[in-house]
């Protein structure tokens, strides 16, 4: 059974102006659909990566998975427990213990007034667990020194801080870690260290990752399965090999083509046309059709469903 199963997940934000402005300016309420009808499953001990450009809803999905946001409709089930609807407090508590999160900005996600020891043991201390020697052990596991436990976050570089965040995430011995752009703020050489560390820890502790990133090469390196998001919708899901060798959705093809390549000397890219549309008024039918080279009349009428295609899943009328 899959550890995480996400079913028709949707999240709508109310972005209306205050009611007085609406009355005076005669505006309607405005709703932004950040995530629309997304379904996928994550098997245990696997890395599922979500990629997409800004506004594609990848972070919103991550937040709904850990329970920082509630879904508007659809469900997230972790070990068959729906955190948003389950009423048995004991069950919720059990599942919550298994989920941790690593954020993008290691400067904003550590309390500057706390010592590293307190930061790391917090997830366990908050539940009254035994934290004796825990911080020291975890620090060594993520490649820092046990002596660092008495220091404050400002004494560390960005890469070291991200290691502290990882140590904190490991403290409660979770099964699932949601990593939201964990290396985007880091330099290339430090990024390599953190990615290697995350791979090692995954094998050592049998972790499952939901890995959120905008960087295709990082995702390709880390993931077992990649889901490509566009305007809050899952447009393609495949293994890295499948996705990079044979991208099926025109948006995926465009993304792969536009990404700068290390061996692309003097490559002339035909730049993609257009930009991501306004999520408050998404285009009808397939959200990608205004930019799509394959678009047919049906694309502006009907929203394509996810369908299996040569070892992948793709939401496109025209892909074959």
């Amino acid at each position: 059974m899959a550890l995480v199963s996400v079913d028709r997940l949707t999240r709508v934000f109310d972005v209306s102006k205050p009611w007085l402005n609406r009355v005076v300016e005669r505006r309607k309420k405005a709703f932004l659909t950040a995530v629309s009808d997304v379904s996928f499953e994550i098997e245990e001990r696997r890395v599922y990566a979500l990629v997409g450009e800004s506004g594609s809803g990848k972070s919103t999905i991550g937040k709904m998975l850990v329970g920082l946001l509630n879904p508007s409709s659809g469900s997230v089930k972790i070990r068959d427990v729906d955190l948003a609807r389950e009423s048995d407090a004991k069950k919720i508590d059990d599942v919550r213990r298994d989920i941790q999160m690593i954020f993008q900005d290691p400067y904003a996600s550590l309390n500057p007034r706390w010592r590293v020891r307190d930061i790391i043991v917090e997830p366990v201390a908050a539940r009254g667990g035994d934290t004796e020697g825990m911080a020291e052990r975890l620090l060594e596991q993520v490649g820092l020194s046990a002596r660092d436990a008495g220091k404050f976050p400002h004494e560390f570089s960005g890469g070291q801080r991200q290691r502290i965040c990882i140590a904190r995430a490991l403290a409660s011995e979770p099964k699932l870690i949601v990593c939201d752009e964990p290396t985007s703020a880091l330099d290339v050489s430090v990024q390599a260290q953190v990615l290697n560390l995350m791979s090692d820890l995954k094998d050592e502790f049998g972790l499952t990752y939901l890995f959120i990133s905008h960087d295709l090469t990082v995702v390709q390196h880390m993931a077992d399965t990649i889901g490509v998001l566009y305007l809050g919708r899952l447009v393609e899901e495949a293994t890295p090999q499948e996705l990079f060798d044979d991208p099926k959705h025109p948006y995926t093809q465009m993304l792969l083509d536009a990404a700068p390549q290390l061996d692309g000397f003097g490559r002339e890219v035909t730049p993609p046309t257009g930009e991501i549309p306004d999520p408050i008024n998404p285009p009808p039918g397939c959200a990608y059709h205004p930019r799509c080279p394959l678009a047919a009349p049906v694309c502006s009428r009907e929203r394509p469903e996810m369908r299996p295609l040569r070892g992948a899943r793709v939401a496109c009328h025209m892909a074959e």
Binding site: M254, L262, E275
Partner: protein, 326 residues
């Protein structure tokens, strides 16, 4: 080779502090020819932006140029007074920063920002400037330019704003553009658009471009030559294909190895141990030696050799042999 547009020799920027003098840029020399794109890469704190700011005279005191010279089309510009520099900035040197929102005035329509720049630097009438502003916006690919000159920056998307900034940098027809991480804040698809635009403008107008970025992929696709910086010094300089495919400096090699690549699959990434040293705690000798697999006694005792502007090699005592082998 014709005379370079920009020529930097032995440039050193110093910041005096209570704990001693920091050198964010240390003895850096390079040239940029007309129509050439020089990529400057390095990790954060390597001094790549500081070198760009020194060229355009935007160093924040107490940072100052302590040594060396900067020549633009043969003229020394590092000793100009504030007023003379102001006439040059915008006219001869255009600048594109990372965040387009902070480089545009939110209270001015973009047409006014463009005409203001042109009226300050060029001897043309307001009508003419208005016409040129629309032409400039069309050139950078803003649809409906004639209508959009009256828009404010917040009415544009990030990619469109960066186009406006590029139009602004180009409107006085400068001979050099300094682009400091122009695409870092943008999405992949928009980044491809902006890079294609920069390349086309550079080719059509023969503008020299200093492209500062940390993204090796962008450099590979855009630059003609590349300068790799580490802890304020030039580590390697040369044609982009040579430097990226056959790096001679162990740092460049490590950097290329740590970048995830589609062709490498899921193999473990090469990692350079440690992190770049802080400027106030530079090791003796070559700044890279504590992280370098090839370091020997000489590297710990002597600072790395300084690269001259035309040296096509690495600032290293034991450079890698490009033909393979040691």
């Amino acid at each position: 080779m014709s005379d370079p547009i920009l020529s930097i020799r032995d440039l050193t920027v110093e910041i005096p502090t209570r704990h001693g003098i920091l050198r964010p840029v240390d003895s850096v020399s390079y040239d940029i020819a007309a129509g050439e794109i020089l990529g400057v890469v390095g990790e954060s704190g390597a001094g790549k932006s500081m070198a760009g700011n020194a060229v355009i005279g935007l160093l924040n005191p107490p940072a100052h140029i302590a040594q060396g010279e900067i020549r633009l089309k043969g003229q020394r510009i590092d000793q100009l007074t504030g007023n003379a520099m102001r006439r040059l900035r915008g006219k001869e040197i255009g600048m594109v920063f990372q965040d387009p929102l902070t480089s545009l005035n939110p209270l001015l329509q973009i047409g006014d920002q463009l005409t203001e720049t042109m009226l300050a630097h060029l001897d043309i009438s307001r009508d003419e400037a208005q016409k040129r502003a629309i032409a400039a916006l069309e050139e950078v690919g803003i649809p409906g330019a004639a209508d959009r000159v009256d828009s404010y920056p917040h009415e544009f998307s990030g990619g469109m704003r960066q186009r406006v900034v590029i139009a602004l940098a180009l409107c006085a027809e400068p001979s050099l553009i300094i682009a400091d991480e122009p695409t870092t804040a943008l999405d992949v698809s928009v980044q491809a658009q902006i890079i294609a635009l920069l390349k086309r403008l550079c080719r059509d107008r023969g503008t020299a471009v200093m492209l500062i970025t940390h993204d090796m992929g962008v450099i590979a696709e855009t630059a003609d030559r590349v300068a790799v910086m580490y802890a304020g010094k030039l580590a390697e300089l040369g044609p982009v294909r040579d430097v990226l495919t056959e790096p001679r400096h162990p740092y460049t090699k490590g950097l290329m190895g740590s970048t995830p690549l589609a062709s490498k699959g899921k193999a473990r990434l090469h990692q350079i141990p440690g992190a770049m040293p802080q400027l106030d705690a530079l090791p003796d000798g070559c700044a890279f030696h504590p992280r370098c697999p090839r370091a020997e006694g000489k590297c710990r005792a002597n600072p790395a050799p300084t690269l001259a502007a035309h040296d096509n090699r690495a600032a290293c005592w034991f450079p890698l042999d490009p033909k393979g082998g040691a």
